[in-house]
């Protein structure tokens, strides 16, 4: 009997240790990224990193402003494409289509999330880049191109979380409104969307995080120029591409500056994730 109890106790402890793995890995990643990236930021001054637009890493100039602006613009563009498509799909599939259609279409659109980002980048290069170049001008590798591709990439995130939060609403909301004579669209617009708001916002912010963090597709289509863009047809470089493009040959301070880029990216992502978490928690409570 004693042996059995000891064994149970041991298993419990073992599982506890395993359960702490995720948080330990998170801590390990933060520690290593920050300890590699922070020293150079403090040495050079955080202002020099964030507000200078000179990125000449071999000469010791590490201004990340163009990449920060690049990431922001490309993400904003992705939201303009991804939110309407994702929300429209979610509303159509929950309010206007049969359950059967939803059960088929939802996994199909979610399949978009499974397509590797290099494939998106490739499609961008062979189809979208020439299209933008021929029809709108510029080099084709641009904010516009990257936004279009990223918008499609984040669409499944927004769609599927919005569908889940619309379906999580009590059916009485919808029934009550319809019983009062409102049309389905009035019900959706005035009752359901406001009620599911926090879930939908959480989905949008998670999509945003995905757009900010996307690397391979953006490298292939955004053009990677390190100057500040003047129009949406100009090429840009994002924070993620900056790391991926130069990591393979960087050393010394240059490498540290890439880790500093990682620190900024990490902080942006953590802020977005925390907001998404808090909003979706508020909904469930």
């Amino acid at each position: 009997m004693k042996i059995r109890e000891d064994r149970e106790k041991f298993i419990r402890l073992l599982l506890l240790a395993i359960a702490l793995s995720a948080i330990s890995i998170l801590a390990l990643i933060s520690i290593f990224i920050f300890s590699e990236g922070l020293p150079i930021m403090f040495r050079r001054g955080i202002k020099a990193f964030l507000l200078s637009s000179d990125w000449y890493p071999t000469e010791g100039h590490f201004g990340l402003l163009p990449m920060i602006v690049g990431s922001l613009l490309v993400t904003a563009g992705a939201m303009i494409i991804g939110i309407p498509l994702g929300l429209a799909g979610a509303v159509y599939l929950t309010q206007f289509s049969s359950k059967k259609v939803r059960m088929v279409v939802k996994p199909m659109i979610e399949l978009l999330a499974g397509i590797p980002s290099v494939v998106y980048g490739f499609i961008g290069v062979v189809i979208l880049v020439p299209f933008v170049r021929d029809n709108f001008g510029g080099p084709g590798f641009s904010i516009l191109t990257a936004s279009l591709i990223l918008g499609i990439m984040i669409l499944p995130t927004i769609l599927s979380i919005s569908i889940d939060s619309l379906l999580a609403l009590p059916p009485t909301y919808r029934e009550g409104s319809i019983a009062l004579g409102a049309t389905e669209w009035q019900t959706t617009r005035l009752v359901l969307l406001p009620a599911a708001r926090s879930g939908i916002i959480a989905g949008i912010i998670l999509g945003m995080g995905r757009a900010v963090g996307e690397t391979m597709a953006v490298i292939m289509i955004a053009g990677n120029a390190t100057s500040l863009p003047r129009s949406i047809l100009d090429p840009v470089r994002t924070l993620t591409s900056n790391i991926a493009l130069e990591m393979s040959y960087a050393s010394g301070e240059h490498r540290q500056a890439l880790f500093a880029t990682g620190v900024i990216l990490f902080i942006i992502i953590m802020i977005l994730n925390t907001i998404a978490n808090l909003t979706s928690k508020r909904m469930s409570s």
């Binding site: 298993i11 498509l85 399949l111 290099v118 490739f122 790391i243 991926a244």
Partner: protein
Amino acid sequence: MRWRLSPQKEQRVVRGLLLALTALSIFILAFIIFFILRHGLPVLSWKFLTRNPVEMGKEGGIFSTLIGTIVLIILALVVATPLGVGTAIFLTEYTTESRLTKIIRFGSECLAGIPSIIFGLFGFIFFVTKLKFGWSILSGGLTLAFMVLPTIIRTSEEAIKFVPRAYREVSYSLGGTKWQTVSRVVLPSALPGIATGVILSIGRSVGETAAVIFTAGSALRLPSSLFSSTRTMSVHFYILAREGISLSKAYGTAAVLIISILLINVVTYYLMSRFLRKYT
């Protein structure tokens, strides 16, 4: 006079618009798959899959990258599955909601949101440089394991929660201990759901590039040990396309990637719906 649509007409217009946008999303998906397969399928052959790349991939097939991908994923799953399932068991069976579970969930949620390039940076500085594993299957596999861990935790947790309480009560009433109940009753019942998470992780790993290229490297040789560098299919595809080595081989590789992703999704969907039908 102010022009206004009646609610019924407005609804019809909106409905049409929403349908059009939904159809557009499906069209984009269909287009991507069709486009890759149309250019890639003609390149595919048994030889393409079973021969090694020659001249940086200009000639030959993708055999070594296929092996590289499989080995890397196996290693990642061998590490991540016990950790993920163990965490899920602890969260669902061994504790009640508390500050500790909140911290554990927070860690897993944050990890899920971290972009793959950060995992790549971390893997490079930690496994490749600090632990001196070099660009290797070991570094790449461990980095991937960290990346897919949250997926396995979440799906396993949901799967375990779906197992009806009665199953556990019967086991306890027969004198089963906690661990006996978990290992002989709960886990077997939750297995299809857990498998879904594992297969989803395979899908994510197959397409992963940013985290792998800086940790496993891009050597084209067949790997001989855990410490040899290897090139996965998606890294190979990226290099083929970006350096313009061979467009047709790039399409062929992309077709293999897309077909594996399609298969993986169909299998997960099938497993999931069967699992849900059993318990609801």
